[in-house]
């Protein structure tokens, strides 16, 4: 009832505005008359009484405005009015508006682009039903351990998927090497995905005898089978096995890797013990209804002793002891999360700087507009009303900048996607969707409010009446100047933070790029020779194949030398063997030492330029039937035999009977990547002669990398090598011809792109900061023209004037830089995971950045300051 009455009253006020206003006029007029009457009765003269009454009443327009405010009719009307007015102001001064909007567009655009990545990679749920129930069991498990977990877990249904490379035989053509995934039969059903054509695996199809089936990816179906409609039911040969194609997955299915082009069942055969308890693979799960993540974690910890005792041989109790269960999304995103959040923080700083920039721009303008605002105030606009007006203007600017920023973001996102490493998880999911649009709109409005606040606050402080009285530009309130100074110093400080961050990243990238990989990568080309896995069963055939291949390759023109190795440095693969080390009194319950084991042909070390520090290298006399020998790297020798000579000591794979004698120590190679020789879980490196090689799965390595040193770096050898291989064995594919130099530079793509992005943001910050200083100085110079004129007239030299002007900027810059460095010291810690060879608080970087910022600030101040020295005192004194 009451609210209806209120509403009708408000409507009346709104619709019959003129009538309500007339009544208000009348009411106040009546009051005035009474007041006059009173003064008359007290004996004042007519004229005098009226004047006194007017004075008593105060500003009638102000009272009316407040009354209207009380009736709350003003909101809507004011908004419309403010918007109209705001548009007019923007159109009247398009230059300032354009600068403001472009500045904002840069900030908002960069933020939107990065947020699209964050949204796509971190926030968007995985494209499977009930994605939040999907989990990853950390660490890796052999088939047997997976089966144990599958059979015992009450909280999860589990599945496993191991990636690998396989040869697909093509009738009449050379075989092709494909990346595939071996999965348990429950894999697709557990994920909740359906094939595009045919079916996926049925229960039991992951047991020997039932596993001769394969599911293809959409792209493989198209590229190798021309999208044949009768694909289901066809038989294809993968490695040595003929398999029936039972289905094709839709194009967007990319689990567990975007590169997987076929899925085959794991062969779960407890009788094949070395396979069943050998290769380890990731295990995934789906929480059962009612079960929670916490329960799953607890259960997994409880199940681990059972898993360990299920092994057919003794396993240390410490095996996988830190195992836990994490959401699948978290697992897929991996360390991208930290990187993205850092980038988002960086780009947020850029936006803050842009805001400060626009705020100072508007502040300078609002001081110029003081007269206009004072008139509006005198005509009855309350201070809050004027403040709202200014805020409306800036929100309009913000929205304009936001719209422009969205366009920039579209471009930016496309560039980003092309720029980031192709294997960035979920990068395809990064699109500008509803959530991103909402984010951008919110950002535009929030930034509008933020940078509108400065002029609005300032206008509240200005004494409207006094500024109307003097109307001079020179008499300006101190507070505006202080606010302006603070904004510019703040901008410089934020820029310091970003530039320091970028400096650290670029420096570590530079250090990384000039790290010596430990071998000579000049004119080095590698090719993958990948016979079927079964080829390795016949060691003699394998040996003679490679021996003959290398002999023939070395006869090719332009080939200086050739060798074979099981894994090249930077290949991403890191085959290890659990090793026994003679006389090494290790902790028997501790984990068995894991050694990277390279299998090399005799020429490898000399071809690669890896120096032999002690003892001898391999030669043709190290044959399968001679005494087993190994080489160790220098760091391995130091780790296991500190202060002793490693040559003559013995190592072997844990299952072997015969010790292998160390015959030499070679220099370390950046086997794993430029940043580290080996992953943290590996304890050392050994090389075996290929003739005596064994893998961690107790097999003889059949797939090798052919390494060739050529006499020219513009030479495509793959054709020749391919035909040589085909002559020897038509079923062996040759793939991946790559220059080692390119492999090395590709290995730092990820840090490279992060450093570049950060560098881009820092550049934006630097430019925006410089513009801010330039704007401030231009403003101050214009403002002090009169003063400068007086000084010059009184005999100040141009140099002194210049100093006077630049000094101000220098003080601000120093304050900003000091504040920025302090903040940076607190924040660069967050970068430490991305740094290589640089401490987060690197004095050199901080110093160089501080000097750069100071230089940039002074340069930006110098241009307008020089204008001040050109002031003609005669002109200046006549100014205004």
């Amino acid at each position: 009832m009451r609210s209806i009455k209120k509403l009708t009253m408000r409507l009346r006020s709104l619709m019959f505005r003129s009538q309500v206003d007339a009544e208000l006029d009348d009411e106040l007029q009546f009051h005035l008359e009474q007041q006059v009457q009173e003064h008359l009765q007290k004996g004042a003269a007519n004229q005098e009484a009226y004047r006194m009454a007017l004075r008593d009443l105060g500003l009638p327009e102000r009272i009316k405005e407040e009354c209207r405010e009380m009736r709350r009719v003003n909101y809507l009307e004011n908004l419309a009015q403010d918007l109209r007015y705001g548009f007019r102001i923007i159109i009247k001064k398009p230059g300032i508006a354009a600068v403001a909007m472009v500045t904002l567009a840069l900030g908002v655009g960069a933020n939107t682009a990065i947020f699209s990545l964050v949204n796509g990679i971190l926030f968007r749920p995985l494209p499977y039903p009930e994605p939040d129930r999907l989990v990853r069991l950390t660490e890796y498990y052999p088939k047997g351990a997976y089966v144990f977990l599958r059979d015992h877990s009450q909280t999860m249904r589990v599945t496993a998927g191991a990636g690998g490379d396989f040869n697909l035989l093509r009738p009449g053509l050379s075989p092709v090497r494909l990346t595939g995934t071996l999965v348990s039969a429950t894999f697709f059903e557990l994920l909740g995905v359906h094939p595009e054509v045919g079916r996926t695996f049925r229960e039991g199809e992951d047991t020997p005898g039932n596993d001769r089936v394969v599911v293809l990816s959409h792209s493989l179906w198209q590229s190798q089978f021309g999208g044949a409609p009768d694909i289901v039911g066809r038989r294809i040969t993968i490695e040595d096995t003929s398999r029936e194609v039972i289905g094709v997955m839709p194009p967007d299915f990319n689990f567990a890797s975007g590169r997987s082009s076929l899925w085959m069942p794991l062969s779960l055969d407890p009788r094949a013990s070395s396979d069943y308890w050998g290769p380890e693979m990731p295990v995934f799960g789906r929480l059962r209804p009612e079960a929670t993540l916490a329960q799953a974690r607890q259960e997994l910890t409880q199940l681990m002793p059972g898993v360990i005792s299920a092994f057919p041989y003794h396993m240390p109790a410490a095996w996988n002891k830190d195992v836990t269960v994490i959401p699948l999304q978290e697992d897929l995103v991996g360390d991208m999360r930290a990187k993205l959040l850092i980038l988002l923080g960086a780009v947020g700083l850029v936006l803050l700087i842009a805001c400060a920039n626009v705020a100072s721009l508007l502040l300078a303008r609002s001081v110029g507009r003081r007269k206009e605002l004072a008139i509006r105030g005198a005509l009855g606009a309350g201070r809050s009303r004027i403040g709202r007006q200014l805020l409306t203007e800036s929100v309009l600017l913000g929205l304009g900048g936001g719209a422009l920023g969205l366009l920039l973001a579209r471009l930016g996102l496309a560039t980003l996607k092309a720029f980031l490493p192709a294997d960035t998880p979920r990068i395809g999911d990064a699109v500008i969707d509803g959530r991103v649009l909402l984010f951008t709109a919110g950002l535009a409005i929030a930034t509008g409010m933020l940078f509108g606040l400065a002029p609005a606050i300032n206008c509240w402080r200005v004494d409207l009446l006094s500024s109307l009285g003097t109307g001079s530009r020179r008499m300006q309130p101190r507070s505006a100047g202080r606010l302006y100074n603070a904004l510019v110093a703040g901008e410089i400080g934020l820029a310091v933070v970003l530039v320091v961050g970028a400096g650290l990243l670029v420096k570590s990238l530079w250090l990384l790029a000039r790290t010596d990989p430990g071998f000579n990568s000049n004119r080095l080309v590698t090719l993958q020779i990948t016979p079927n896995g079964s080829f390795g069963k016949d060691r003699a055939a394998c040996l003679s194949f490679y021996e003959e291949l290398i002999r023939r390759v070395r006869t090719l023109p332009a080939v200086e030398s050739a060798a074979a190795v099981n894994t090249m440095p930077f290949s991403g693969e890191f085959p290890v063997v659990p090793a026994s080390i003679q006389d090494h009194t290790g902790d028997t319950e501790g984990p068995t030492p894991l050694l990277w084991s390279g299998a090399i042909t005799p020429l490898y070390t000399s071809l690669m330029g890896i120096p032999i520090l002690e003892g001898r290298g391999f030669n043709d006399d190290d044959r399968a039937d001679t005494a087993p020998v190994v080489l160790v790297t220098a760091s391995t020798a130091r780790a296991f035999w500190p202060g002793e000579d490693a040559v003559g000591k013995h190592v072997k794979a844990v299952w072997e009977q015969q010790w292998r004698t160390i015959i030499g120590v070679v220099a370390d190679v950046k086997q794993y990547g430029l940043a580290q020789n080996r992953p943290g879980w590996v304890d050392g490196e050994i090389y075996m002669p290929y003739t005596q090689a064994v893998t961690g799965h107790r097999e003889f390595p059949s797939s090798m990398t052919l390494v060739i040193r050529t006499s020219s770096d513009r030479l495509n050898l793959s054709g020749e090598v391919r035909s040589l291989v085909a002559d020897l064995n038509a079923e062996v594919p040759v793939s991946d011809a790559r220059w080692m130099k390119e492999v090395i530079s590709a290995s730092i793509t990820a840090p490279n792109s992060i450093a570049w992005l950060f560098g881009t943001f820092a550049t934006m910050a630097l430019v925006l900061g410089a513009t801010g200083v330039y704007g401030l100085m231009s403003y101050r110079v214009a403002e002090r023209t009169h003063e400068v004129g007086v000084r010059i007239a009184l005999g100040a030299s141009r140099w002194e004037v210049l100093l006077l002007m630049v000094r101000h900027a220098a003080v601000l810059a120093v304050i900003g830089i000091a504040a920025g460095c302090t903040t940076a010291i607190g924040l660069t810690r967050l970068l430490s995971g991305l740094l290589y060879g640089v401490k987060p608080i690197d004095p050199a970087t901080f110093g160089v950045v501080s000097l750069t910022l100071l230089g940039v600030a002074l340069a930006a101040a110098f241009i307008p300051a020089r204008r001040a020295t050109k002031v003609d005192p005669n002109e200046a004194l006549r100014f205004e």
């Binding site: 009451r2 009455k5 209120k6 009253m9 408000r10 009544e23 009348d26 009411e27 106040l28 009546f30 009051h31 008359e33 009474q34 007041q35 008593d56 009443l57 105060g58 500003l59 102000r62 009272i63 407040e66 009354c67 405010e69 009380m70 009736r71 709350r72």
Partner: protein, 109 residues
Amino acid sequence: MGKPNDLVQGTLDLLILKTISIEPMHGWAIAKRIQQVSRDVLQVQQGSLYPALHRLEQQGWIKAHWAETETGRRAKFYSLTREGRRQFDRELANWGRLSGAIDLVLEMA
């Protein structure tokens, strides 16, 4: 010509409500009445009076009608609504509690 500092907003509302609870009055009379009764201690400025009246009307506690004064001029008279009378009682009770409490503190402390 800012808002009076000597009259807290709520108090002004209370004074207005009290003043017009006896009979409908126009703005001028309300101001004069408060001034007289308080023996010139409380002087209500127009700048606060009229916004307050419009706010109270907006709240639905007072209503306005145009009528002739004794001199025959039309003026806007304000009177309490039923809602306003209840509000007045509430505010009066509040005021009593508050002033009593202040008295207590001043006497005892």
